[in-house]
Symmetry: C2
Subunit: 483 residues, 2 copies
Amino acid sequence: MSEQELGITESKEYATGDWYAEVVQKAGLADYAPMGGFIVTKPRGYALWEALQDNLDGWFKDTGVDNAYFPMFIPESFLEREKDIVEGFDPEVAWVTQGGHEELEERLAVRPTSESIIAPFMADWVRSHRDLPLRLNQWCSVVRWEATETKPFFRTKEFLWQEGHTAHASEDGAWDETMLRLDQYERLFEDVLAIPVMRGRKPPHDKFPGAHTTTTVEALMPDGKSVQSATSHYLGTSFAEAFDITYTDEDEDEAVAHTTSWGLSWRALGALIMTHSDEQGLVVPPTVAPTQVAIVPIWQEDTKDEVLEYAEGIAEELEDAGISVDLDDRDERNPGFKFNEHELNGVPVRFEIGPNEVEDEEITVVHRPDGESIVEDREEIAETVEDHFDDVYDKLYEAAEENLEENVREADSAEEILGTIGQHRGYVKAPWCGDEACETAIKEKIAAEIVMCPLDRDVEPESDECAICGDEAHEVAYFAKSY
Amino acid sequence: MSEQELGITESKEYATGDWYAEVVQKAGLADYAPMGGFIVTKPRGYALWEALQDNLDGWFKDTGVDNAYFPMFIPESFLEREKDIVEGFDPEVAWVTQGGHEELEERLAVRPTSESIIAPFMADWVRSHRDLPLRLNQWCSVVRWEATETKPFFRTKEFLWQEGHTAHASEDGAWDETMLRLDQYERLFEDVLAIPVMRGRKPPHDKFPGAHTTTTVEALMPDGKSVQSATSHYLGTSFAEAFDITYTDEDEDEAVAHTTSWGLSWRALGALIMTHSDEQGLVVPPTVAPTQVAIVPIWQEDTKDEVLEYAEGIAEELEDAGISVDLDDRDERNPGFKFNEHELNGVPVRFEIGPNEVEDEEITVVHRPDGESIVEDREEIAETVEDHFDDVYDKLYEAAEENLEENVREADSAEEILGTIGQHRGYVKAPWCGDEACETAIKEKIAAEIVMCPLDRDVEPESDECAICGDEAHEVAYFAKSY
């Protein structure tokens, strides 16, 4: 890449979509595949996914979840069993119809989600109350054949995700599970990705097909659109009834299990990239950055040896402390180019080291994204740098939090909902009767929808009249445009 | 499972295939999926795969490999470019022909291996010698539509694997890479899975299509059949030429890269399970065991509290030391049942704790698979148990090594090859002219093939005449039946 190619040319504020696509490509996160709707996840993008996986997978295992792996193909007849649960079920999936040179007798769907292949095995594995709870998870890719414009990590026909599937003896057990996973998703966003989120329920008409309740964590993007960042479903007994997940209880009676499913996809990466990045390129917190510190030595011919030796000692000390560091000692690039390149690639902390730093036994520490520059003692740098990681994290979180806090507004009429979203984007809270038609009335005019309702059903709307139809309001709806 | 169902009913020696299938199912490693050729990998089986992944992935990353993720579908026209390299290329793959309700214009293959989708991106990403070496790896599943009987982990239409793909400026660089990955595979088998392996080259007619050289690690199973456990290919410049992986060298001249690819699949799990297990069930070394220690407390009503308290203290101490432990305090099962169940499930070390152990501040430590029982001091048990892990590992490795050493024989005529394999199975070394027809002559009579030749081409055959045709012998061939 030449020096002038390093910057991002599109505006984050005025052309968010184009800016996002440019960051993804120039920072080496993903490329477009030759087939529309598919992307290639490049090493830097995949490393972000691995960092996210490491955190979430550890929490899952600490709370009783076992990983497993189910086939990527699902026979059509299995998928069709969901018709018992969901009226008008008609999946948009990729179909395998040929194997080798033969036509298959039955089409195989490339999994769009795995309830219909996992549930029959859960039915087989669960016999007694002693087999419950049963908690399974798989990390895999799924395919949904939707004809939309490709947007890396946000909209792709194939995407990476995890899907958890659990069975419980009681409704309470399944509800606790649903909320535990929602808590863990929230924790991932707030404590690892530096993104504040809102927790809520999807309105009944937007639940996962067959679910009793779909809970969600929603993140607000800088352009004022909401991202459904992960969902956790309490499925009630509907899947258990359709797939015979029953067990013998402590009184030797036959009982139907309560099940849940919960998933987080690489949309979380999309939210991460879009929330923090800027017009110099990728910005991510040190918690997930593939390279946490870039050391850029600045030398003249006569100072090169001492500067490099000093820099190498620092790099080694950081590495020994488990910090991921890139000592950028390339001869063919000048420091300015290196600064720009590490900024493009989202390295959160830069060390600048020249002859002055060597002489004073110091290090100039520079934060991404705000460029704040602090001189630190060389001594105990592996400890000091952790404070800088925390500072950078806090800066990113606070900026995102400010965006969220400024962009939750209230409205009590259709006109006000439309006007507020039209002018500001963001979330608009309004009293709602619960009828889908009232959402449709808004959606038809401005492409905003009800992204969530508060989890606590006791949250009383400000007014007792639905903002749209004027009938009795039963709850609060959050309207927003969404990804 | 009832007590009588815990044992394995098939004989390892006389019905190895049935015995293997029974171990896989009863030890909870995998189940058969409803579609022939597919399996469901259950938590205990998947945990073994994760343990193997953790080791290998760490070594890959330490040696310059980046993980990435490429689409699971490959357009037919991309796959066909391999026809430039491989005559008669006609892949047995699963074809996606429909997306949603539409017929696709071009069929998409579910990846059987990813050279044809990765190579075009490598061509795009490699511009200058500074971009080399480029080392990519992905962990994913692949599909090969072969109509054979399903054998979990050994023969399935979909299987999990990793595939590494690298590009280098020089032939030497690519050769070093090929051998480095072969070394890492060997290390995995010998230092983690407790399986001695032999390294070799595949004969020319059995190379990966388009490869210059295919290297392999082969493991000998207890029934005398060889398992090709991982392969590492030096691809020469053939793929780089077909896919335009070229770069500007230090003199600004255009040059063609040398590429490699290398892969290990869940056959490694098959080899692991088959090598060590016995007629009590699964046996695996402590290096990969999902549960390393099962603690079985043995109490009467009046000793229950003290025994349990003592056992809990031990469990906690092991856990704090990072050891995976299962304190089996189930009321509804007796100690004998628990012993059998943990043996079935492949727990390598069992602690038996009764009132005597509590009184003497001791622990009775029992090894799987040989049942050796040793009384140890309670004090510093978290350290002592590591010695037992080493002992169990050594026992497993030595048994496998003995099997291998006893089963490499020599022959210098076709009759002797046939007779030796017929009588003993195992490997038979014979001088070979290099002609595929000589292998065919053996294969037709006894279904044994040349599984490898020594890596070092300077290994001289014992005789200068091919054991089969009598022409000049150029190398040593290892004949064996294989999985």
